[in-house]
Amino acid sequence: MLEIGSFRARLCQGMNRRAFLKAGMLSPFALGLSGLPQSTRAAEKQPRAKSVLLLWLWGAPSHIDTFDPKPNAPAEIRGPFSSIPTRTPGMRFTELLPKLAARSDRFALIRSNKNFHSGHLEAGTLGLTGAADDKDAGLPNFGSIVARHRGAAGLPPFIAVGRGMPRDVVGMMKGYGGGNWGKVYDPFLVNCAEDGAVDVPALKILDGLTPDHLNDRRRLLDELDSVRRKGDQADQAKWDDTCKRAYALLTTPEARKALDLSREEEKTRDAYGQTSFGQSCLLARRLVEARVPYVQVNWSQYVETMTPNCDFGWDTHIYNFEMLMDRHCPILDRVFSTLLDDLHQRGLLETTLVVVLGEFGRTPKINAQASRDHWPNCYFSIWAGAGIQGGRVIGESDKIGGDPLTEPVTPNTVGSTILDFAGLDTQARAELRVLPGGRVIHELA
C-alpha cells in the first residue's frame, strides 16, 4: 500500500504554485540518489550501530506515571497508578506498562535525563540536536549528522516517519532537520496511517498520480516534465534536481520494498496493532532492515493531547491520567514491546540502537487540572540494542522525580552517545564541529 503524493488532491489542473515551491525545496531527496560522500572515517570504522531508531515521544510523557514511579511519595506526587515489578529485580514501572515490564531485560533505562528549557519547541530542538540552549537553534538534528557522516547508498540516510515535522499549534520545532547545514540534511518524511498505508506528504503536488505510475518510470517522468512546463521558470531547476530524483528514488525496487507494509505477514502487522504509531514502527523496522542509518519515528506531529486538528501528543496538561490509561500507554506498551521482539527475532537488535524519549518530563506535583505540566529537570530515556546490556537502570532521580540524584544526562550527552554508537567518535564529531565536549554514556556499554 505504497502511495506517493495525494491522488485525490484539489489540484485538479496540475501543479499548485505553493505546492510547487514546496516541492522545490525538497532537497533531502537528493540524498537518496546522488548521495553524499561518505566520510573517510565512516568508511574506515564499523559502527557499533548500523542503524539508529529513535522513537520521539513528542509532547513529553510523564516519567512518574510511566517508567519512574514513586510509590512511596505523597499522593499529590505519586498519582493514582500502582507500580508493578519488572523482569529486572528492583526495577518497577507503573501498571500501565505490563508488556514492557516483562521485557525489561531487553533495554536499559535512564532516569536522570535533564533538559534546559521548558517550552516544547525549544526543548525539542535541544533534545534532538544536543544544543545547550535555544540560541543554538541552527544545529543539525542527530539524524542529519549521521546522514552526513554515513552518506547515502540508496535510500535516504535520515528518514522521519510521521504526519509532518514536529510542531505545536504555535509553530515548527527548529531541530527537526539540517538546521544551518541546509535542507539537504533534512529528513525524508514519510507518513504511515493506522491501516499501514504509506505516503510521502511533501509530494502531494500532482493530481492523477497513482501507485501504478511508479511501475512505469518513463511515463512518470514524462508527466513530471509536463507538469514542470506549466510551472514557474525560476523554479524549474529545483524541480529537476529534486522531484525527479525523489520520484526516481521511490521507483527503485529497494524503496518500494521498504515502504510497502503489505509485504509483511498479517500476524506481524497485527502484533504492532492498528494504530499509526504501531504501523509507523513496523515501517521503521523495515527501513532499518533496508540499512537506513537513521530513522526517527514521531509519536505525533503536534504536542497537544486534546486540541482540534492535533494528533494526540503526550502534552497532557489536562486529563493526564485518563489519556495515559486509555490511549497513550497501552499503545506504547504494545508497540515498543513488539518492536523489541521483532528486531530481536530478526537479528537486527544487535546492530540497531533503539532510543525512546521525549523532550522532557512532567511535573512531579499534580497540577490544578489533576494533570502534570512541563518538567525539564528530570525525565527518562530508554536504550536498547547495539550491544547495550538490558535490565539495568542508569541514573537515579530523587524521591519525587524532581531532579537527578546522579550526573544528569543532557541532550548533549544523549546526542554524543547516539553518534558514538553510529560510528562518530570524538574525532569525527570534532571534524564536523558537532557536540563539542560531549560525554558518552559509557555505562550503556
Binding site: S82, G273, Q274, N309, I318, R327, A368, Q369, A370
Partner: protein, 290 residues
C-alpha cells in the same frame, strides 16, 4: 478469531478495527453510539444500527473532536464532550425535542470535563472535572447551570447514575489506586464497592440496578468484570471509614491477552457491548452475559 471469553457467546459488531471508545445503547438497544478515532486528528461520534451493522456519523457535520456521549432513556436529551480550543473541552447538553444546546463551559485556558452522564429523569448531568483538590464529580442541571460538587478530594471519575437515579457509582483514588464506590445522588453516604490492586474503572449499572460492569487490570491487563450490588439494599449502610466492601461476587467476563474495555449494558440486561482489542484491532463486541 479470539473471543472475549469462551464462557459467553460473543458477536463482533464492527470490523474496521479503528480505535473505539465509550459505546452506549440507544433507542431501546436498536442502536449503539460510540466514539471512533475517525482521522488522525479527530475523534467522532458514530451510530451503529445493530440490525444491519451499518455505521454512520452521529453528527454528520462535526469538524472537531467529540466523544463520550450519554443519553436519557427516552432519548430526549443527550450530552457529549467537545474539543473546542487548545486543551479545552466543553460539555454540550442537547435537547432533541427543542433542538437546543446548553453548554457547560469550564472556563478558558487548560480545562475540561470528562465522562458526562444524564440522570434517568433528565434532570441533571454528572461529569468529572479537576479542581485544586484533585478531580471531582459535579452535577449541573439540564441547562448546564446550578453546578454542585459531589466529592471533595482525590481523583474521582466515571460517574454513573443508577437506573432509579438515586445512586451514583464512580471510581476514585481516595484509598490509593482507582477503586469503585457508590454514593447517594446528593454525594452523601459513600460506600466502597471494590478493593483490588490496580485500576477498577468505568462502572456501568445493569438496567435492574443489581449489577455493575466495569473494567479492571487486576489480572494484568484490561478485562471486563461484573459485580453484584444487591448488598447495598440489604446491609445497613456504613460510613466509608469502616472500609467495608459492598460489591460482591465479582466475575471476570473477558479473558484475553489483549484489551477489553468500555462495557455498557443492553437494555435487556443480558448483554454487554464492549470494545475489545483483537489482533491489534479495536472493535465493538456484543457479549451475552445472562
Amino acid at each position: 478469531m479470539n473471543l472475549p471469553n469462551a464462557d459467553f457467546k460473543t458477536t463482533r459488531l464492527t470490523k474496521d478495527g479503528r480505535q473505539k471508545f465509550d459505546p452506549v445503547f440507544v433507542r431501546g438497544g436498536e442502536e449503539i453510539v460510540f466514539t471512533v478515532l475517525e482521522t488522525p486528528t479527530q475523534m467522532s461520534l458514530m451510530r451503529l444500527k445493530v440490525a444491519d451493522g451499518s455505521v454512520e456519523r452521529f453528527h454528520p457535520q462535526a469538524t472537531t473532536t467529540e466523544f463520550e456521549a450519554a443519553f436519557t432513556p427516552d432519548g430526549r436529551y443527550y450530552c457529549f464532550v467537545q474539543s473546542r480550543s487548545n486543551l479545552n473541552l466543553k460539555l454540550v447538553i442537547r435537547d432533541t425535542k427543542q433542538s437546543k444546546d446548553a453548554i457547560f463551559d469550564p472556563g478558558g485556558g487548560f480545562a475540561g470535563m470528562r465522562r458526562p452522564t444524564i440522570a434517568p429523569d433528565g434532570s441533571r448531568v454528572l461529569f468529572s472535572m479537576a479542581d485544586a483538590a484533585g478531580q471531582q464529580i459535579y452535577s449541573v442541571n439540564i441547562q448546564g447551570q446550578d453546578r454542585k460538587t459531589l466529592t471533595k478530594s482525590a481523583l474521582n471519575h466515571w460517574p454513573a447514575y443508577s437506573p432509579d437515579g438515586k445512586q451514583i457509582a464512580f471510581g476514585s483514588s481516595r484509598d490509593g489506586d482507582f477503586d469503585l464506590y457508590v454514593m447517594d445522588a446528593d454525594g452523601s453516604n459513600v460506600r466502597r464497592l471494590t478493593k483490588s490492586p490496580g485500576i477498577d474503572m468505568r462502572p456501568a449499572w445493569s438496567p435492574d440496578g443489581k449489577r455493575l460492569a466495569f473494567t479492571s487490570n487486576r489480572d494484568g491487563n484490561y478485562e471486563v468484570y461484573v459485580i453484584d450490588t444487591v448488598d447495598l439494599s440489604l446491609r445497613e449502610r456504613q460510613p466509608l471509614a469502616e472500609r467495608e466492601v459492598y460489591g460482591a461476587n465479582p466475575r471476570r467476563i473477558t479473558r484475553n491477552a489483549e484489551r477489553d474495555d468500555f462495557p455498557a449494558w443492553h437494555p435487556d440486561g443480558k448483554r454487554l457491548v464492549m470494545v475489545c482489542e483483537r489482533a491489534g484491532r479495536g472493535d465493538l463486541y456484543l457479549c451475552e452475559v445472562g
